[in-house]
Subunit: 666 residues, 2 copies
């Protein structure tokens, strides 16, 4: 995940015999554009933009006519005039980057007193404003290496983006949740947009041409996009904390939610429609967290990490200056985490997260208390505009389902009772000798807080009204609040220590390795090198590619039932398609969430594919990059044009991609 | 893997609501027939027998005309007259079983002095002879529960077996070594034979009819066949020994061989033809051993095993009689293995296995020494007719490839040098201060033993000639022999202790659980219950079935390259086939090597499939049966008839299977 201001040219030359010049680098940077939460690229001289279907989801839904869902039916603009403007959507094209570390840091070494943090934020704001005023562009100071370096990114923004083509969700997300994060895969996860300027397709010389052959095994390929977030600078102690404390607790929590949503979804069609998205997201995060956790449980990966950390610390310790400045950072983090471990069970349960209504009771109890304190002494969530936000939250007329509230609260209390000691004050306060189910039933049944007016009355009544209230949830919240506050404040101190020292480690990394190690992902433009390559899987081999044959096979394996049901267009097109056409493929490139929609290009800067996922084995890459079996998953360029021509009757678009037609001649 | 004399009828009734009567059990027993190393079954009233392609391999090769390989081209008899007799092939049909434990054991409790072992073998021989004389059938005493029980199995043998149909190896073993032991799978691993009596197709009422629908998800199914060998009565200590000592050493050894064969295979077409089978078998055993080892490394499996052993030992210890008789057996095994661990590295390398020529030198050195001893004092391999066999081995004119000899010897010596201490006498004797490569080069280059005449001269010259020889390999063998003998004799004593106590554990098992636990596999007829069921795989779901679509997909994934190349017939037939036809499927039935060719039947005793493999997750079932993700893999009955009709133009056979035609009317 290299930045464009420090591409590893020598490494590429040695490894692949490929040494792109500055013009190549500038061209691929300018051909790549960022969507609000995804990556994308120009793929024609007239502003056509390629990204994933799941990146275009909001636009696709918004532009659907009242009686139609383009998510379900797909959408193809037959002419330029039929292309539909996506309200609010824009793309950002990276113009320049500039090291502003010294301007941000001033002259002192970084540490993390509140005053210094505020100073730094002010400096960043000033740099961004100045840039914006001078250029009219979008300017953003990016924190690299956890604060080891700061860089000013300047973007040209294009705000007229229109929908050109989107397939059905049934094919763009074929295989649904089961196949998500896996390979072999059969998704056409594609959306085509077009950038307009002054009401006409934007002309550009910086776009990726379409490769005549597409990706082939062994090809050197690059992915250009905006990876969102990685944790590769985490120390071993931090990874162990995730492995032993954070992830097990998160997995247990998500599992409880999945059980609740599954029960809800089973209660009939209406319940299913209301809760199936929540169920999907819960299952999805269970899979993702399990994958990260698998990496941390893999001793080979941890050994690799330890080896890196040993080397890094040895480099720091060899240089007296670095040693004095950064040498103790690892131990400081480890000590803070050691103390956090002792608080972990309490931090997990003390608080108001067990139900939506309990959480509102908590805010009502806390608001008068926190308002009375000076800003810096408040709980973090109540600092700055936090007070006002909290007031809005309790007043908002959100729908409350009391049965779901009871189930959630009972599940959380059951878990708390298993992990906390019997005489724990939190348990006493909530359960009062009752079973979790009985307590949850009584508290939720009798509270009046489901009524926004009741909440408003308590909010307006302030400290006195809260003290006087005999609403059972408020009574409970009054007892929990001081317990929870004590734990939260201790945690907060420990987390500040950890993040201040993480910043020191980031500075040390840059001091010890320079740009030879790229910074963690920051949802800014990166270029990643790799190869098209199959891998050993499940006792046998996964091929580097899948084909349309495989799509029909996977559907037939499951008797064409959802999520393996083929859209009607695909059933009808079967005999027209060359079923041996590659559909998806895998590469060893380093990507992560945010790279969705990134182009995969060859040495000639031609599109050979479109990134949309990683395989299950790639999830541990969050912490350390490996390419034995971890792979990025992409739509194959030949699958795209074959589908456009033979399934979607969208020869207009296929011709434009392949460069044989210009839209302006239509 | 239940025996037919103790089917778990109550368990089946409670679990599946299915209670077959004795007639059903007799019918399915008689419809199942055993091949020399496989399982099979009657599938028509006129003697048609269904088994796997790899079970018919020898016949298919033997009956091929001089200029044709039916392995490569496939074979279909268009008429009865074209069916080809398989020389030497027979099938055995189980007629009866009879408990003969008391006759084998006499009146004493079992222990393992050499005298008692001989007595028992004599008793078994007598029982078999008597049965054979009285009935004219094939009789075999089977050792169940490691000696906990003995049973007389009587078979009717049919020795006129003819080849009816065999597909190409390219489709019966599609996916080759990579896909072997895995699922999803796309093999038509089928051979059809026919049993003749008096020159005409054998008439039988005991055959499996063909199911109209074939296997469907959730179906209750039975597999009837002859599982070869399991290790489910192994103690925890024995499993740990396999995990820590045996398998790691075997894997290292096989890996060394794979490296050597890979290098050889890469040396050109002739070398490839000569060595590719060895490479295949080495890769195959690497995969199998890795799978067993994975089970032993899986803590969930070991916990399950420990739980069982705890329960078993508690049952034994609760009963004073059982406790006195068997209570110490586990510890005795553990003690023996503890001592074996200390010998393990020496036993692995001391000896003559490092090359074929060294092994011949070893036999030449040992023969005069062992001949001079009384039989019971000899090394096990030289007892009884072992002497004569050893003499034949050194005289046989086998081809020797000196380059391969050097590579094998050098690899083994390199490994030995890594694991043995520097001053080890074996290393000193062989290396004499040289590097493994230099030593191997010198020893193999200069020895005369590659010449059978040289070996014959040493053999005839006896002790004196061996002592006088200055052949470098003989010199080395003279030095190694006493080292090796000491370790081998100690090992031999420890192994006898282990196997005598294993027998006691088998008896204890039968005493504690009766027939509620089936005995370990013994390549005799068993019936196994299970369900047709997909499973969670690789982050997603494996469907219970694959289809012909998947076959064409897997081939296209690898650009129709071997081992994923489709036979010409299959390419030509594509448009005639219904590509959604199920090809293979998986079930939770308990099987193991020897079950190859077993029918999968439904409750109506109709064929729904044909067992041919297990998935990679099923390999640990060798030690303990689990069905979370372990699956048996079978050819689907609908895939068989669709292929017979539309690929092989073998409607004659498909009609016979489906019961719509009788061959005698042809």
């Amino acid at each position: 995940m290299w930045t464009f201001d420090a591409p590893p040219l020598e490494y590429w030359k040695a490894r692949y015999g490929f040494a792109p010049d500055q013009a190549w680098l500038d061209h691929v940077r300018l051909a790549s554009v960022r969507l609000p939460i995804c990556s994308s690229s120009f793929v024609s001289s007239e502003g056509l933009v390629m990204t994933n279907h799941h990146c275009g989801r909001e636009c696709i839904t918004t532009v659907s006519p009242p009686d139609t869902s383009y998510q379900r039916t797909g959408f193809v603009a037959r002419t330029l005039a039929e292309e539909k403007k996506c309200p609010g959507l824009y793309v950002d094209q990276l113009q320049s980057t500039e090291d502003v570390t010294s301007r941000v840091r001033g002259k002192g070494t970084a540490s993390a007193t509140a005053g210094q943090v505020a100073q730094r934020e002010a400096a960043i704001q000033e740099i961004e404003n100045q840039c914006q005023q001078q250029t009219g562009d979008v300017c953003q100071v990016v924190t690299l290496y956890q604060g080891g370096r700061y860089s000013l990114y300047r973007y040209k923004r294009f705000s007229d983006v229109r929908l050109v083509m989107a397939p059905e969700e049934g094919i763009s997300f074929f295989g649904g949740d089961p196949d998500n994060f896996t390979y072999p895969r059969y998704d056409l996860d594609l959306t085509l947009l077009r950038v307009y300027e002054n009401g006409a397709p934007k002309k550009t010389e910086h776009f990726f041409k379409w490769s005549a052959t597409g990706a082939k095994e062994g090809d050197l390929v690059f992915v250009i996009g905006n990876p969102g977030s990685t944790g590769r600078l985490l120390t071993l102690a931090q990874m162990e904390y995730l492995r032993d404390v954070t992830y097990p607790a998160q997995l247990a929590q998500v599992k409880r939610n999945i059980a609740i949503y599954q029960e809800l979804v089973g209660q009939g069609d209406e319940a299913r429609r209301r809760w199936e998205n929540q169920l999907f997201y819960a299952q999805n995060s269970f899979k993702a967290i399990s994958g990260y956790q698998a990496g941390l449980l893999d001793s080979a990966i941890m050994v690799k990490k330890r080896k890196f950390e040993d080397d890094f610390r040895a480099r720091v310790n060899r240089d007296p200056k670095l040693r004095a400045r950064y040498g103790d950072a690892w131990n400081r983090i480890a000590l803070a985490l050691k103390e956090q471990r002792t608080l972990a069970v309490k931090s997990r349960f003390y608080g108001f997260g067990a139900s939506q209504l309990l959480s509102m009771a908590g805010v009502l109890v806390r608001l008068p208390e926190e308002s009375a304190l000076p800003d810096s002494a408040r709980l973090p969530a109540y600092r700055g505009d936090g007070l006002e936000k909290a007031r809005q939250v309790v007043q908002a007329p959100v729908p409350i389902d009391k049965e779901v509230e009871k189930a959630t609260l009972a599940a959380q209390l059951t878990a708390a009772r298993k992990e906390l000691p019997a005489a724990d004050p939190y348990l006493n306060a909530v359960l009062q000798g009752r079973s979790p189910e009985v307590a949850a039933e009584a508290l939720i049944e009798k509270t009046t807080l489901a009524d926004p007016a009741a909440r408003k009355a308590l909010l307006d009544g302030g400290a006195q009204a809260v003290r006087a209230s005999d609403d059972p949830l408020v009574v409970v919240a009054r007892k929990i609040a001081p317990l929870s506050r004590a734990v939260a404040m201790r945690n907060q101190r420990l987390e500040s220590t950890a993040s201040a020292n993480a910043e020191r480690i980031g500075q040390a990394l840059y001091a010890a390795y320079g740009t030879s190690l790229p910074p963690d992902a920051t949802f800014t433009l990166r270029i990643s090198d790799g190869e098209v390559q199959g891998y050993p899987m499940n006792g046998t081999k996964a091929s580097y590619k899948t084909t349309f044959y495989g799509l029909y096979a996977r559907s037939a394996d499951f008797d064409d039932q959802p999520p393996f049901q083929l859209p009607g267009r695909w059933k009808a097109a079967r005999d027209r398609l060359d079923l041996t056409t590659p559909m998806d493929f895998v590469t060893t490139n380093d990507i992560i969430g945010g790279n969705s929609g990134s182009p995969v290009i060859n040495q000639n800067a031609e599109v050979v594919g479109l990134i949309f996922d990683g395989n299950i084995e790639s999830l541990p890459n969050r912490f350390i990059f490996t390419d034995e079996v971890a792979r990025s998953v992409a739509v194959h360029s030949r699958g795209i044009t074959e589908a456009l021509r033979k399934v979607y009757d969208a020869g207009r678009v296929a011709d434009e991609l392949e460069g044989s037609a210009r839209v302006s001649q239509q």
